[in-house]
Symmetry: C2
Subunit: 319 residues, 2 copies
């Protein structure tokens, strides 16, 4: 049936050929369409990573790109409608479609209409199928009847998120012993977003701010010290981040004015470094220039290395 | 230089051939190695999605799989060490390596040692390169000198996370007007993890619990009603979730005992449905059997559709 639908669409696209130039004119720059029968997050994640390879060209929008995410594309009609639009706009189509008929329809439509396209996940799924000696189900995640099970892993992640939110910004220091990971650093080193990122991976995280003139909670020094990670950052960068932050919060004049002043930033970081020097078992992670997920990767790697102490450190999971 | 390194490794792996059976015996089931010069999250995300296609075979560990994530693999030595281990364990290797020399080294080592392997991101990056007419930089994200810029997008996401944490569980109803998205539902419909998931995508989210005998905040009815989404769930599933929850929290006997009782669950959901019926402009989303990221995808789609009102709804972004 995918073939006949593609045939129908061939006629429709021919009718619309006159719109081509209009379609081009509407959007400046290059278009990338991401199409998924699921959430589209895999395609989005992959495209974001791949676009990192074209940063120079993206800076200052020297070569502007627009991405368009189409999620929950579960039938051929909607699929071909999107492909048609892609043809009109001269877009690149990157798709993840579990149903082989849908994936075929996408491929054929793109060939027919001269749309460049790539199946993002197909090769990975096929490699796993070969490795397991089992054929993929071909059933998309949202298909009727399929239910995400309430697995142990699901509950673990939910609990980690609840815990982590409650422990933000030094709250409830009596619970630090229940955390998997404890982050320590001055304001705006990314403790909160980092905690949340790690919580979504299933780690219970607490973060404790270093503030001059305020003692760190006693419990921090009583728990397993292997859980604790210090965060540090370049003073000039922290200064810039705090300036931006102060602007957003609308600080003016007197109150907390020294929060974003360079001298204050510098002495606060020196204070933090002194604490780190006194606690040499805490690894200190330099976050300058790192995205949240990059710092998260470093911490998760160290966390597992410490636990495993094996020859080939890595993060292992069972399915 | 990658070729000569591969040559060296050939000798080393030959020396270790005797370990093959040992390697097999250590780990039950099939091994999947994920190797990245970056965080490894792209590989992990892709493999998780692909493994969804083998759920039947994974249930009850009928065909057990172990994944191993190796992130920050930045030099050929470490790369080949991992490949060697993969050869010994009969693992499948799935990699993302931005440096073409590293990707070549991976490919060659795998061919030489008979390790099945797939480049997860390469085809996507190449498709984008062709589309843009620009060659990929070949520089991995963690490379010295490369710095994640503190972009507007970065600050937007950090602010969204800070906002969302503060608005959890009905806190600060006076700020509901500042949210992009407001989630309303009874306890354990996933409001908190969903809020956090959306916050990481840059949306400011507030969630408001529906509790029998407690009035919803007046401000909820004064803000733009298009922001509001109701969550509903099958009573039996909610009952099961709450039972699991009560166990974790260690509820016993008296206090909040009715929280997880079926009658209470049912009347609470009826109460919620009455509220939803009184507010027909709130879309009501059925979360039963949906993973957090699936519900998030539905909400993000509706959020953008409402805003755009265009012929081809989808989520667009500029780079
Ligand atoms: N749990 C799952 N079960 C079956 N298919 C899945 C699962 N998760 C993701 N997929 C498929 O993997 C691709 C990417 O998913 P998504 O990231 O939701 O767009 C889509 O084709 C989905 O249908
Ligand atoms: N911002 C970026 N700049 C350059 N390369 C990137 C960027 N983000 C991801 N990559 C590359 O994309 C692949 C997947 O990244 P990751 O998800 O961090 O493992 C790796 O080869 C990274 O080096
Ligand atoms: Mg914070
Ligand atoms: Mg909650």
């Amino acid at each position: 049936s995918s073939t006949s639908s593609t045939g129908d669409m061939k006629e429709q696209i021919d009718e619309m050929d006159g719109l081509d130039e209009f379609g081009e004119a509407v959007n400046q720059g290059k278009q990338i369409y991401m199409v998924s029968d699921g959430t589209g997050w895999t395609a989005e994640h992959s495209v974001n990573a791949a676009l990192g390879q074209f940063e120079n060209c993206l800076v200052d929008r020297g070569c502007p790109i627009n991405t368009h995410l189409f999620s929950g594309v579960e039938d051929t009609d909607r699929l071909l409608e999107i492909m048609k639009q892609a043809a009109m706009e001269g877009a690149l189509v990157l798709y993840t479609l579990a149903d082989p008929n849908m994936a075929d329809a996408a491929k054929q439509a793109c060939q027919l209409w001269g749309v460049p396209s790539t199946d993002i996940l197909g090769p990975t799924t096929e490699a796993i199928a070969m490795h397991l000696g089992v054929a993929p189900s071909g059933i998309p995640r949202g298909a009727p009847g399929r239910k995400a099970q309430l697995s142990e892993d699901y509950f673990r992640r939910i609990e980690a998120i609840d815990f982590t939110i409650k422990q933000d910004d030094g709250a409830q220091p009596q619970n630090l012993n229940r955390a998997h990971i404890v982050l320590v650093g001055v304001s705006r080193t990314g403790k909160t977003p980092l905690s949340i990122y790690l919580a979504q991976k299933g780690y219970k995280v607490a973060n404790v701010p270093i503030v001059m003139g305020v003692d760190l909670p006693r419990s921090l020094f009583e728990i397993n010290q292997k859980k604790i990670f210090g965060l540090t950052i370049n003073p000039a960068v922290l200064h810039a981040i705090r300036k931006a932050r102060a602007k957003t919060l609308g600080f003016h004049g007197g109150m907390r004015s020294n929060y974003s002043e360079m001298d204050h930033v510098r002495s606060e970081l020196e204070h933090a470094n002194k604490i780190f020097a006194q606690n040499p078992s805490w690894p200190v992670i330099e976050v300058t220039g790192k995205a949240i997920e990059e710092t998260a990767a470093v911490i998760v790697r160290m966390y597992h290395d410490k636990k495993q102490k094996c020859l080939m450190p890595g993060i292992s999971k069972r399915y």
